[in-house]
């Protein structure tokens, strides 16, 4: 598996896209810091961008890479290598280099602006941790779509729909149901509904960490009560982990049973 990982990372390092992605984050970091001139404000702006953009790039990049490396996988499948190693290696290669671009691209500007001397170091670390989780989650989801769908155009369409649903439509439905059922107790429902969408979960986690949950009103109070505690944070991180583990498991399960 590590050999496959090595070659997929090597392959990605040579492709222009990883650098474009890295440059984008570098620019984003510098521009935000330049405009806000304040680390903690920049962190909040960055959060809004990360929870939407990282999933989008993860899905698009993941599905493109999977379809593009078809020749590579076909070549490997006839070699004495376990199938799960091939797909796990490819997946970790993509998700790993996306996360690396994110960490380096955002880390550098913040470091230069004196991150270590400021009080937001933990908030910023959580932001990067969540960005990394989202990269891993959405790359895994896009690989799942790609392995079940040999038609590239359809596969591409499904990933874009998935992102749109998770990032935009889900929130709409969530809010709508809160309004429709406002007469009922909704705290448990809203916590569960948040858990079911990694983007929402990430957003709430960061909001709570930044202590601006009051903006969320009543629901914010519910979340504060639940996630604000140590165990709430751990549960939320575990759920994000599950969001990675389950799609990866399904990917490997599917890979073992697919005809190539």
């Amino acid at each position: 598996m590590f050999k496959i990982l090595k070659y997929s990372v090597y392959d990605l390092m040579r492709s222009r896209w990883s650098y474009v992605y890295l440059l984008f984050y570098l620019m984003l970091g510098f521009v935000l810091l330049f405009l806000n001139n304040d680390l903690s404000k920049a962190v909040i702006t960055l959060m809004n961008i990360i929870v939407v953009l990282v999933p989008l790039i993860g899905t698009i990049f993941g599905i493109m890479y999977y379809y593009n490396s078809k020749e590579f996988t076909d070549l490997l499948l006839a070699q004495p290598i376990r199938r799960s190693s091939i797909f796990l290696g490819l997946y970790l290669g993509v998700a790993g280099s996306l996360s690396l671009s994110l960490i380096i691209g955002l880390g550098l500007p913040f470091l230069i602006y004196g991150l270590f001397k400021s009080g937001v170091i933990w908030d910023f670390s959580l932001l990067l941790l969540i960005g990394t989780s989202l990269s891993f989650i959405f790359t895994a989801l896009s690989f799942n779509i790609a392995i079940s769908q040999d038609n590239k155009i359809k596969g591409f369409g499904y990933t874009v729909l998935l992102w749109l649903f998770m990032a935009v439509i889900y929130d709409g439905l969530f809010l709508l149901s809160l309004i429709v059922f406002e007469e009922y107790p909704l705290d448990r429902f809203s916590i569960i509904a948040t858990m079911l969408n990694p983007i929402d979960l990430s957003r709430i986690l960061i909001l709570l960490k930044l202590d601006i949950a009051a903006l969320l009103g009543y629901t914010g109070a519910v979340f504060q009560k639940f996630f604000g505690t140590q165990s709430g944070l751990i549960i939320a991180l575990c759920v994000l982990m599950l969001w990675t583990v389950f799609p990866v498991w399904r990917l490997l399960h599917r890979a073992e049973r697919k005809d190539f």
């Binding site: 050999k3 496959i4 070659y7 392959d11 040579r14 492709s15 490396s69 078809k70 020749e71 590579f72 076909d74 070549l75 490997l76 499948l77 006839a78 070699q79 004495p80 290598i81 376990r82 199938r83 073992e256 049973r257 005809d259 190539f260």
Partner: protein, 236 residues
């Protein structure tokens, strides 16, 4: 070497293999023949474990291959379409496969034989079809394995490379290896194969030597003999 029992495979409603029974003894050149879509590549991919059969059993060197992967260490496979990652150089591809297999390899002789020296630093996406096929052949023959599976090895080759290929296949046979190949070029098959298997609509219509095929059909020409078994059902 390879034992196939009651092998079934369908893709959707299309039944590609229907109860294939075959036994390939070790040491010898076997040609799998059949029209396009008769199931040759599917059969080959089943042996490699790339396609998973719906029913039936398949064993290589006496061990069932279901869910296994280590047995592929003793197989060299030449895929039908030489599709390689385009952004790699020929040299990088060779060293990558060597690294992945971790077995001793003999590629320099082969590179010379197919005159690929000047292409080693070129990217695979820039190579012509025939040159890609030569790279494909180098990748297949550079490891010392007891079983060689060649899916249409002659595609796109020029006459001199074809002669080299035939010589290579014969040398491998003399070393006691088992070679399984599929081809549409009857002249090539007649020259090289010890035994042929004729597959049509996923069933075996004939298995035996070329001479016995000629006797059976009463034709002197292999092409005509093949055409004859396709019309008259002769099961083995």
């Amino acid at each position: 070497m390879i034992l196939i029992e009651n092998l079934h495979k369908k893709f959707g409603k299309n039944k590609v293999l229907q109860g294939v029974e075959l036994n390939f003894e070790a040491g010898g050149i076997y040609a799998i023949l059949g029209p396009n879509g008769s199931g040759k590549s599917t059969l080959i991919k089943c042996i490699l474990g790339m396609v998973l059969p719906d029913q039936g059993s398949l064993s290589v060197s006496g061990h069932s291959i279901r869910g296994k992967w280590v047995y592929r260490e003793q197989i060299n496979y030449l895929p039908q379409i030489a599709d390689f990652p385009g952004n790699l150089k020929v040299k990088e591809l060779l060293s990558m496969i060597k690294d992945l297999r971790g077995q001793p390899s003999e590629e320099s002789e082969l590179v010379k034989l197919f005159e690929l020296q000047s292409y080693l630093d070129k990217k695979l996406s820039t190579l012509s079809g025939g040159t890609k096929q030569k790279v494909n052949l180098v990748l297949t023959f550079m490891f010392d394995s007891s079983l060689l599976i060649l899916d249409e090895p002659t595609t796109g080759l020029d006459p001199s490379s074809l002669i080299s290929l035939k010589r290579l296949i014969r040398t491998e046979k003399e070393m006691g290896k088992t070679i399984l190949l599929s081809s549409h070029i009857m002249q090539f098959v007649e020259e090289i194969a010890d035994e042929i298997v004729y597959l049509l609509e996923g069933k075996i219509y004939f298995k035996g030597s070329i001479n016995s095929l000629k006797e059976l059909t009463g034709e002197n020409d292999v092409e005509h003999a093949i055409a004859a078994i396709a019309t008259t059902k002769v099961y083995v």
